[in-house]
């Protein structure tokens, strides 16, 4: 029953993605404008209110990673002169563009009509779009999201943000699409977003239950897919989240765990919190290392890169532009290190985790800088020792399975030994 339900939301999502890529491929003929933008701080509702189609390069990169295509793209980009230290999402995307621009589902990707760079703390994103601007010679608009250096957005930050929307982002979208800004349409879309966000949060919070009906890292990267990409505020997006919530609630009520690629994980021995993005080239193998040990992830920070909804934020249709400021400012990549530490500490406590693990990504400075310090601070505040492993996003050369498995097993055995010690 649970498996069938899981299939329903999975199938829905698969269909949505396939349809979207088909629409993107047809865009040069149908004339639908295409806007390239990034996951953190994406303005999907605004873009779609102009009847434009969003395309997210880092989603292409991670999908290429999962489908075993990223290695050759990364090498292609390195041949062009991009160094080994450059973010592998960038190299995968550039390599793909230079290898015929065939996307992860096998369809050709259209050129952008507009590059909309919503800057939320990742400097590399800026350089990435500079490269794409060179490549495509298309209009580019830059939206500067103030960094939450003090842990929150000040009123003047919001004003500054809204001013940029009014003075540069909206005019750029109007020019490229030939449509006028329609605030009512945006409000309607934001209303759907808020509903989906409620559903997603219910899904994420379900991991507080024991056993957890979801895996909040490996499973949840699928759950956040639609809301982080092209489908927030759309009818199909809402339907996806309604359906996902129903199936997770059903699993929770039946006392069942998540369904992993290796089968159901009802018998859960370890509850973990994870910081950092997953490795995509060995995603299933990485997940299996956890499920083999009966470890379930109950909360993760990576699943907040496209919005931190579980701490209360919802898109507000009554303040359509201001709410976009709050949304962009609150994305995980835009948070300072103390806020990230607070978040990890809360997760460990509220989800009653047995441990936490940092997957430090070689080529992502935006995530990795400060992680050792975070590890230390979280350990001190929770009394819970952390584990540290290293891999990469989509460069298959940086996934050393034997070492990672060794680290993870050692860590889980340490948790066991400490439990046994407490009992004695």
């Amino acid at each position: 029953m649970a498996t069938a339900n899981k299939d329903r939301s999975m199938e829905l999502q698969k269909q949505m993605i396939a349809d979207h890529y088909k629409r993107l491929e047809a865009a040069p003929e149908t004339g639908e404008p295409v806007v390239y933008t990034f996951v953190p701080g994406n303005l999907t509702e605004l873009i779609r209110s102009f009847d434009a189609l969003p395309l997210l390069p880092e989603i292409n990169a991670l999908q290429s990673g999962m489908r075993g295509k990223s290695g050759e793209f990364v090498v292609a980009a390195e041949k062009m002169g991009h160094s080994e230290d450059v973010c592998t999402y960038v190299k995968c995307d550039i390599g793909m563009a230079k290898s015929g621009n065939v996307g992860p589902t096998g369809t050709r990707l259209p050129k952008p009509d507009l590059l909309l760079l919503s800057y939320t703390g990742c400097y590399t994103f800026m350089k990435w779009f500079e490269l794409l601007r060179e490549e495509y010679k298309c209009p580019t608009v830059f939206l500067h999201v103030p960094y939450q250096g003090d842990g929150s957005l000040a009123p003047e930050h919001r004003e500054y943000f809204v001013k940029q929307l009014k003075e540069s982002v909206i005019p750029a979208l109007e020019k490229v699409t030939g449509r006028k800004y329609d605030e009512e349409r945006l409000r309607a879309s934001l209303r759907l977003s808020a509903k989906s966000e409620d559903d997603l949060v219910a899904v994420l919070h379900s991991a507080k239950k024991k056993p957890s009906p979801i895996d909040a890292y490996f499973g949840a990267v699928y759950y956040v897919g639609p809301i982080f990409s092209a489908f927030r505020g759309t009818a199909e997006g809402s339907e996806y989240y309604r359906s996902l919530r129903a199936e997770v609630e059903e699993r929770a009520a039946a006392g069942l765990g998540p369904v992993t690629p290796e089968g159901p994980l009802d018998d859960q021995k370890y509850r973990l919190v994870v910081e950092g993005p997953p490795n995509w080239t060995h995603f299933r193998e990485f997940w299996k290392m956890f499920s083999d040990e009966k470890a379930v992830v109950v909360a993760s920070t990576y699943t907040k890169v496209g919005g931190t909804y579980d701490f209360g934020f919802r898109h507000d249709p009554d303040d359509p532009l201001g709410t976009l400021a709050d949304y962009c400012g609150g994305c995980y990549t835009n948070l300072n290190i103390p806020s990230r530490i607070d978040m990890l500490v809360k997760y460990i406590q509220e989800y009653e985790a047995d441990g936490f693990l940092i997957n430090s990504v070689k080529s992502c400075n935006s995530f990795s800088a400060g992680q050792l310090l975070m590890l230390r601070e979280v350990e001190q505040r929770t009394g819970c020792p952390g584990a540290f492993i290293e891999s990469d996003l989509v460069d298959p050369r940086y996934f050393s399975a034997a070492n990672i498995r060794n680290r993870l097993e050692s860590y889980l055995q340490m948790i066991d030994a400490r439990r046994a010690e407490r009992v004695r």
Partner: protein, 425 residues
């Protein structure tokens, strides 16, 4: 007697430790790791059981006189064991030489090999006849290899037989011999050993009892890199982090921080007052600065691994070496030598470089607390120990540094202790 066994299958060596019913160490065994893991484990265990039976013998006698008799018996046992292995190796090499692809070379090679093995056998008898034989590698492959190479060189110079062909025969066969089951146990050779020492009645009776003593292995735990291949069920396999923590605690109960530098990884471990791991860090993605680094440098300098540390210790000033990448350090070494720097000064710098890498792992794992225990093969290297002592002092102040002469067995001892706890003896 009931006993438990811990096995640590490492990348360079495989170790086994046996504990008796009271948790006391009964025997230890070690061998070089090899492509056939089961074989490596088999040899290490056999060796540990040999040591255990000798320990049973020792427990029967208190007086020093008998102690020296027992020492003689042990050396006789080693002679028997080594000669047995040499005979087998010699047979295979001779068989190989007899079918050498160059027909005209066969006769000469067969004769040379026979002569070499005759001499190695004599040398081994002399070695073990000594009251206190000089220290050397405990592994058959090393002792046979170095004697064979030396004698092959002599014979080839004298008779004009190709040295390369002789070496080729050895390289081809040693792997074969290492990977076939051999009779190396106490039962296999104690009879011959007893004959060799002339069957003193007191010892002979004690040997009789040691032979008859029943040793029942009630439980075993495996650890190390090859642990997934060990002949234990999954629940009896522990990560080497936990085993090193517990093993170090057993050797030095005051231990709070453990640094283990092994062949291919470096581990910084924090333990509580029961030896339970509270945190750890390991080198990742790259094995720079591990034991293999020193092995590579020794090869580059054409000296033995065990000579590196003592040579570095003669240095008055360390040359600063920046690279901990093993291959780059080799390049740096050659450049420094060409610039006229002294070998010992460069070596001292290299030792400091690897310990610097270990220091960053220690910092990551939570620093160095009193007491601090250093384990793994590299703990036997005096220059590495000195660099560590200096750097710990500079960064964390005075700390008690423990190093056991048996530190190579730390992981296996921890595994045996887990087995002991699990067996509820």
């Amino acid at each position: 007697m009931r006993c438990v066994v811990g096995v640590d299958l490492g990348s360079t060596t495989t170790k086994a430790v046996i504990l008796d019913e009271t948790g006391r160490i009964l025997g230890r065994g070690i061998t070089n790791s090899r492509s056939n893991y089961d074989q490596a484990v088999g040899v290490a265990r056999t060796e540990a059981f040999v040591a255990a039976r000798f320990e049973l013998l020792r427990r029967e006698f208190e007086e020093a006189a008998v102690e020296s008799e027992l020492g003689k018996l042990l050396r006789a046992f080693r002679t028997e064991q080594t000669l047995h292995q040499l005979r087998r190796l010699g047979e295979i090499i001779v068989a190989e030489a007899a079918v050498h692809r160059l027909e005209e070379a066969r006769e000469g090679l067969v004769g040379a090999v026979r002569e070499i093995f005759q001499k190695i056998g004599e040398e081994e008898e002399e070695h073990f006849a000594m009251e206190d034989p000089p220290k050397r590698s405990a592994f058959f492959r090393d002792l046979a290899g170095s004697a064979y190479t030396r004698l092959a060189e002599e014979v080839s110079r004298r008779d004009g037989i190709s040295f390369e062909q002789l070496l080729g025969l050895y390289d081809k066969t040693i792997i074969k011999v290492e990977n076939e089951p051999l009779e190396l146990s106490f039962m296999d050779h104690i009879g011959g050993a007893l004959e060799r020492v002339g069957r003193p009645p007191g010892i002979a009776r004690a040997v009789e009892r040691a032979v008859q003593a029943e040793m029942v292995e009630v439980s075993g735990v495996g650890t190390g890199y090859g642990r997934a291949r060990l002949p234990f069920p999954k629940e009896q396999i522990r990560s080497e982090i936990l085993c090193h923590g517990l093993g170090a605690h057993a050797m030095f109960p005051g231990t709070r921080t453990v640094l283990d530098i092994g062949g291919q990884d470096t581990k910084a471990i924090q333990v509580d007052d029961h030896g339970i791991v509270t945190g750890f860090q390991m080198n990742d993605r790259c094995a720079a600065g591990c034991g293999r680094y020193l092995g590579y440098i020794a090869d580059e300098m054409n000296i033995g691994l065990h000579e590196l540390g003592p040579l570095a210790e003669t240095s008055k000033r360390a040359v600063k070496i920046n690279s901990t990448c093993t291959v780059f350090a080799g390049a740096e070494l050659r450049e420094r030598l060409s610039l006229g720097e002294k070998r010992e000064d460069i070596l001292r710098g290299l030792h400091r470089a690897i310990i610097l890498r270990a220091m960053s792992l220690l910092a990551r794992s939570g620093g160095v607390s009193d007491e601090f225990t250093f384990t793994g093969g590299v703990a036997n290297n005096p220059a590495a120990v000195r660099a560590l002592r200096d750097l710990v002092g500079e960064n964390y102040g005075e700390k008690k540094l423990n190093i056991s002469p048996d530190s190579i067995y730390t992981g296996a001892l921890g595994a045996a202790l887990f087995a002991y706890r699990g067996a509820g003896l």
